[in-house]
C-alpha cells in the first residue's frame, strides 16, 4: 500500500483484504505502522493531511523554477546506420541537418528565459560531435551570458565519442562536461547493434571512453545500453562488459519505441515481458556482483528506488507527474523547432507534430502557453489519469503522453496496451519484491545506490 505522498507499507493478503473491508485491525503493530505511514488515521485527519501535504509538496518541488533540462539537437548527421534509429541522417548531407548559428543564439535566449536557477544543457544528435563548431558557439554564448545570470549550469553530451580530438577534449574539460555514450555490451553485440561502414564501432567507443576518462576524469564519463532483441539473451555478458571497463553504473533501458522504423521493429523489438525477464536476471546478477564486493549500480533501479525510499523529488525527467515533457524539459531541434521532449521531436520525424511547442524565435511565454503545453497540462498528471489514479505505484511514476500519442493518437492512451505502463509496473513489482523479501545485503546495496556509499564514521570526541 502506498500513500499519496509515497510512504509505503507491505501487508500480507489477509490483512490487506480485511483493511480494505474496513475491519478493525487486530495486530497493534500493523495498526501503528499504517498510522505512521499516514495510510490510516484514528481521530482527526488534520495532522496526517498536513504531513502528507508537506511531503507531496516536497515530492513535486521539481515544478518550482520551470524546465531545467534543455536539449540542443545540434545536428541530425550521424555516421552510424543503426536499424532502430529513424531520426538521424547520413553524413555528407552538407550541413543541411546542422543547427544554424542564428537558431543556436535564439535557443540560448530561450534557455535563459526559463526561471530555473539550475540548468542542464544537453547536446544531442545525430552525432553531436559532428557539429562541434555549433556546440562551441552555444557554450560560449551561454558562458558569456551566465557571467551576470549566475545560474548553476551543467553541460552534458550524448555521443559515440568516435570523433574526439584533443581540441574537443580540452574544450570539454574547461567547461566541465559530463559525457554519456552508448555501450551495448561485448564487441559482437555492440557492433551488430551499431553498424558502421567498415565496422569497429565497439573498438572506437572504447577508445573514446578511455580518452574522455583521461581528459575529464573517470566520474565524468558514463554509458547507456541500448537493448535489442539480441541483447536480451545475454544479461550477464552485458553487465560483465561494464564491470570490465570499470563503470560504476549501468543503465538497462529498453529500446525507445519512437525511433523505430516499422520494418525493423519486428526484427529488433521485443515484448515488455521479454524485457522484464531480462531485467530481473540482469538485476539479480548485478546484486550478486555487489554482494561480492564490486560496487556497480543499475541506474534504472536507482532512479525508481530513490523515488520509493526517499521523500524527495526525482531528478529523472522521464518519470514525473506532472509530466517532465515541457514542464521539466525543452528540446531545441536543429531546424529551430522547440519540442516538449526528445520523444516529441522523434514523433515529429514520424509525421506527428503534436508536441512541437513552437519555434526558438517565439517568446518563452508563447512556448509555455502553446496548444502542445495545454495538451500536456491536461493529460500529464498521472494522479488524474484512468488506470493510473488508483495504481499503487502512482506516487513514483509519471505519464507518457508521447507514447500514447504515437500508439493511440491521443495523449492519455489506454493502460492495458501501454508499453510504458507495463514496463514500469513490472519494474516496480521487481523492486518491491526485493524490498519486501530481500535479505539485508540486498537492502544495503539499494541504500548505497540511493544514498551513496557511506564514508567511515569518525568519532566526535
Amino acid at each position: 500500500m502506498t500513500s499519496e505522498a509515497g510512504d509505503f507499507q507491505v501487508l500480507d493478503e489477509a490483512t490487506f483484504a480485511s483493511f480494505a473491508r474496513r475491519e478493525p485491525l487486530i495486530d497493534k503493530t500493523t495498526l501503528r505502522n499504517l498510522e505512521a505511514k499516514h495510510l490510516l488515521y484514528k481521530t482527526s485527519p488534520e495532522t496526517a493531511v498536513r504531513l502528507l501535504a508537506t511531503k507531496l509538496r516536497t515530492r513535486k518541488s521539481f515544478l518550482r523554477g520551470g524546465p531545467s533540462l534543455h536539449i540542443f539537437v545540434v545536428t541530425l548527421g550521424c555516421d552510424h546506420g543503426c536499424h532502430y534509429c529513424q531520426v538521424s541522417r547520413r553524413l555528407h548531407s552538407g550541413g543541411r541537418y546542422d543547427m544554424s548559428l542564428e537558431t543556436a543564439a535564439a535557443a540560448v535566449d530561450r534557455l535563459f528565459d526559463s526561471p530555473s536557477p539550475n540548468l542542464t544543457v544537453e547536446f544531442q544528435g545525430g552525432e553531436p560531435l559532428l557539429a562541434f563548431p555549433v556546440i562551441r558557439h552555444i557554450v560560449e554564448l551561454i558562458q558569456a551570458r551566465n557571467v551576470h545570470e549566475g545560474r548553476q549550469i551543467v553541460f552534458t553530451i550524448t555521443s559515440t565519442l568516435h570523433h574526439l580530438t584533443d581540441e574537443i577534449l580540452d574544450f570539454m574539460r574547461i567547461h566541465d562536461f559530463q559525457v554519456s555514450t552508448s555501450l551495448d555490451g561485448p564487441r559482437d553485440l555492440h557492433d551488430a547493434n551499431r553498424p558502421l561502414p567498415g565496422g569497429g564501432a565497439h573498438e572506437l567507443t572504447i577508445e573514446g571512453i578511455q580518452r574522455a576518462r583521461q581528459a575529464l576524469g573517470q566520474g565524468s564519463v558514463s554509458a547507456l545500453t541500448t537493448l535489442t532483441r539480441r541483447s536480451l539473451e545475454r544479461p550477464n555478458e552485458i553487465v560483465d562488459e561494464y564491470v570490465r571497463l570499470g563503470f560504476r553504473s549501468i543503465f538497462l533501458r529498453p529500446l525507445s519505441p519512437y525511433g523505430f522504423a516499422k520494418k525493423s521493429e519486428r526484427r529488433l523489438g521485443y515484448t515488455v515481458e521479454d524485457y522484464l525477464r531480462f531485467y530481473r536476471a540482469a538485476l539479480g546478477y548485478i546484486l550478486e556482483i555487489n554482494r561480492n564486493g564490486h560496487l556497480i549500480e543499475e541506474a534504472y533501479a536507482k532512479i525508481l528506488l530513490s523515488s520509493i525510499l526517499t521523500p524527495f523529488p526525482t531528478t529523472y525527467v522521464d518519470l514525473r507527474s506532472p509530466v517532465g515533457s515541457g514542464f521539466g524539459t525543452l528540446v531545441y531541434n536543429y531546424d529551430g523547432g522547440v519540442y516538449a521532449s526528445d520523444e516529441g521531436r522523434m514523433l515529429k520525424e514520424l509525421g506527428n507534430d503534436t508536441l512541437r511547442v513552437g519555434s526558438v524565435t517565439d517568446a518563452y511565454q508563447t512556448l509555455m502557453r502553446s496548444p502542445a503545453m495545454e495538451l500536456l497540462a491536461a493529460s500529464g498528471l498521472s494522479e488524474t489519469l484512468p488506470g493510473c489514479s488508483d495504481c499503487a505505484f502512482v506516487p513514483y511514476c509519471g505519464p507518457d503522453p508521447a507514447g500514447s500519442l504515437s500508439r493511440h493518437g491521443d495523449p492519455v492512451g489506454h493502460r492495458a496496451e501501454s508499453e510504458h505502463c507495463q514496463r514500469h509496473t513490472g519494474l516496480f513489482e521487481i523492486l518491491f519484491d526485493h524490498l519486501a523479501n530481500g535479505d539485508s545485503a540486498t537492502l544495503e546495496i539499494f541504500d548505497n545506490w540511493v544514498h551513496g556509499v557511506p564514508p567511515v564514521v569518525k568519532a566526535a570526541n
Partner: protein
C-alpha cells in the same frame, strides 16, 4: 541580587556593567577598596570578613571552590549563594519555569504548578552577565513556552546581549501548534535551536509517554510551523521500555516527515524525578536495545541527518554506534563505575549519572580493552 564574579583585571577590561560585578579579591591583597567603589564596582568577594569594606562584600564561602572568576551568582539576603552561570562548564542552562503542560513518565525534573514568572526578569538580568563568546546556552524547564510573551522577551534580550550564542531550548513544542504564537518568535529564528522530543512515530505511544492526549499532533504541527518560519529544530527521544520498541520506525518517520531537523539526539534515561517512581514501566537494559539504537542512528546518519547518542556508556554500544556517542552528562553530574577501572575508552565516555544507582546500570558494563578500538 545577581553578580558577575570577575578578577580585578577582567573587571577592568571586560565589557560588563561594573555595578553588577563582584570583584574576586580572594587571591589579591592591597587593593584600594575606596577606589573600586568610586569606579562603580558592585561588590567584592573575599576569603574572610575580617576587613571593613565600603562595598557590599561576600566572604567565608562554605565551599569556596564552587565560585570562580567569570561565574554569575545569585546572592540571597540570607547569605545563600547559587551559581547560575559557570564559565568553562561543558553546559550552561537557564531554568525558565517549573511549570509544564505534559507529565512525561520519565521526567527528571518534575513540574510544580506555581507562578514563577519572576524568572523572566532574572533570566534577562543573567543574560547581560554571561560571557559574550559563549557558543551555546541552554534553556530548560518545565516547559519554557508557558512563559508566553515572557519567553519572547528573554530571546530578545539574548539577541541583544549574546548575538553570537546559539540558544538550545528544550520544549515539547505543543504550544507551537498555534501559528500566531510561532510568529511571535520570528526574530529568534536562526539563533535558537528548538530541541523537541518525539517519542514515537504514532500518537498512541507518544501521548502515553508524555501522559497528554493530543500531544503528538500538537508537537508535529508545532515542528512544521517552526520549520515553515525558518527555525532550526532538533528532534530528541529518551530511550526506555516505552520508546525503544519502535525506535527504528521513529527514525523512518523523522526522515520522511521531519527531514528539516538538523540533529536527532537519542538519549539514555536520567534516573531522576518521575523516572525513579516509574522504573517498572521504563527500565530496560541498554544491551537489549543497543542494536536497534545502532540501526536507527545509522539509518539517519546515512540520510544526511546528524545523530548523537547521549547518556549511554560506550561499552554497551556496538562498535559502529560508538562514533555517535557524546560525552553528554554534565561534568557535575557524571561519575564512573568500579568496572570502568582500566577502560581505554573512559576519556571519551559519558559515564553515568551520579544519581543512577547500581539498579540503573546495564549488565553489559565492562572495561573496554585496546583491541576493541583497533
Amino acid at each position: 541580587m545577581l553578580y558577575k564574579v570577575l578578577s580585578l583585571a577582567d573587571a577592568l577590561s571586560q565589557d560588563f556593567p561594573l555595578s553588577k560585578v563582584m570583584v574576586d579579591l580572594r587571591s589579591l591583597d592591597g587593593v584600594d577598596l575606596d577606589a573600586l567603589g568610586s569606579i562603580g564596582a558592585g561588590a567584592i568577594l573575599r576569603v574572610d570578613g575580617d576587613l571593613a569594606s565600603p562595598l557590599p562584600m561576600l566572604h567565608s564561602l562554605t565551599m569556596p571552590e564552587v565560585v570562580a572568576s567569570g561565574d554569575v551568582i545569585r546572592v540571597h539576603p540570607s547569605g545563600q549563594v547559587n551559581v547560575l552561570y559557570r564559565r568553562g562548564a561543558n553546559a550552561n542552562t537557564l531554568f525558565a519555569t517549573e511549570r509544564c503542560n505534559s507529565r512525561c513518565l520519565m521526567c527528571s525534573q518534575p513540574p510544580h504548578e506555581e507562578d514563577d514568572s519572576w524568572r523572566i526578569g532574572e533570566m534577562i538580568d543573567l543574560l547581560q552577565l554571561i560571557d559574550h563568546d559563549l557558543p551555546v546556552l541552554g534553556i530548560t524547564g518545565g516547559e519554557p513556552c508557558l512563559l508566553g510573551e515572557g519567553l519572547v522577551e528573554v530571546l530578545r534580550a539574548a539577541k541583544r546581549y549574546l548575538p553570537n550564542t546559539v540558544l538550545h531550548i528544550l520544549t515539547n513544542g505543543r504550544l507551537f501548534s498555534d501559528r500566531a504564537f510561532v510568529r511571535s518568535f520570528d526574530q529568534a529564528a536562526g539563533q535558537v535551536v528548538w530541541a523537541v522530543p518525539v517519542y514515537s512515530d504514532n500518537a498512541i505511544d507518544h501521548d502515553y509517554v508524555v501522559q497528554a492526549d493530543g500531544a503528538f499532533n500538537e508537537t508535529l504541527n508545532g515542528l512544521h510551523n517552526l520549520a515553515e518560519r525558518g527555525h532550526r529544530v532538533e528532534i530528541r527521544c529518551v530511550l526506555h521500555r516505552q520508546t525503544v520498541h519502535r525506535l527504528r520506525e521513529l527514525a523512518d518517520f523523522a526522515y520522511w516527515n521531519l527531514p528539516f531537523a538538523e540533529h536527532v539526539a537519542l538519549m539514555g534515561l536520567e534516573p531522576m524525578g518521575y523516572a525513579r517512581s516509574n522504573r517498572d514501566v521504563l527500565w530496560i537494559d541498554q544491551l537489549e536495545y543497543a542494536d536497534t539504537l545502532n540501526q536507527a542512528a545509522a539509518y539517519l546518519w546515512r540520510r544526511g541527518i546528524a545523530v548523537s547518542i547521549y547518556n549511554i556508556p560506550l561499552c554497551v554500544l556496538p562498535d559502529q554506534a560508538r562514533p555517535f556517542a557524546r560525552k553528554s552528562i554534565s561534568d557535575w553530574k557524571n561519575v564512573f563505575a568500579p568496572e570502568c577501572q582500566g577502560c581505554t575508552l573512559q576519556d571519551s565516555c559519558c559515564g553515568f549519572f551520579r544519581s543512577a544507582g547500581d539498579g540503573w546500570r546495564s549488565r553489559g558494563i565492562q572495561p573496554v580493552g585496546l583491541r576493541a578500538i583497533a
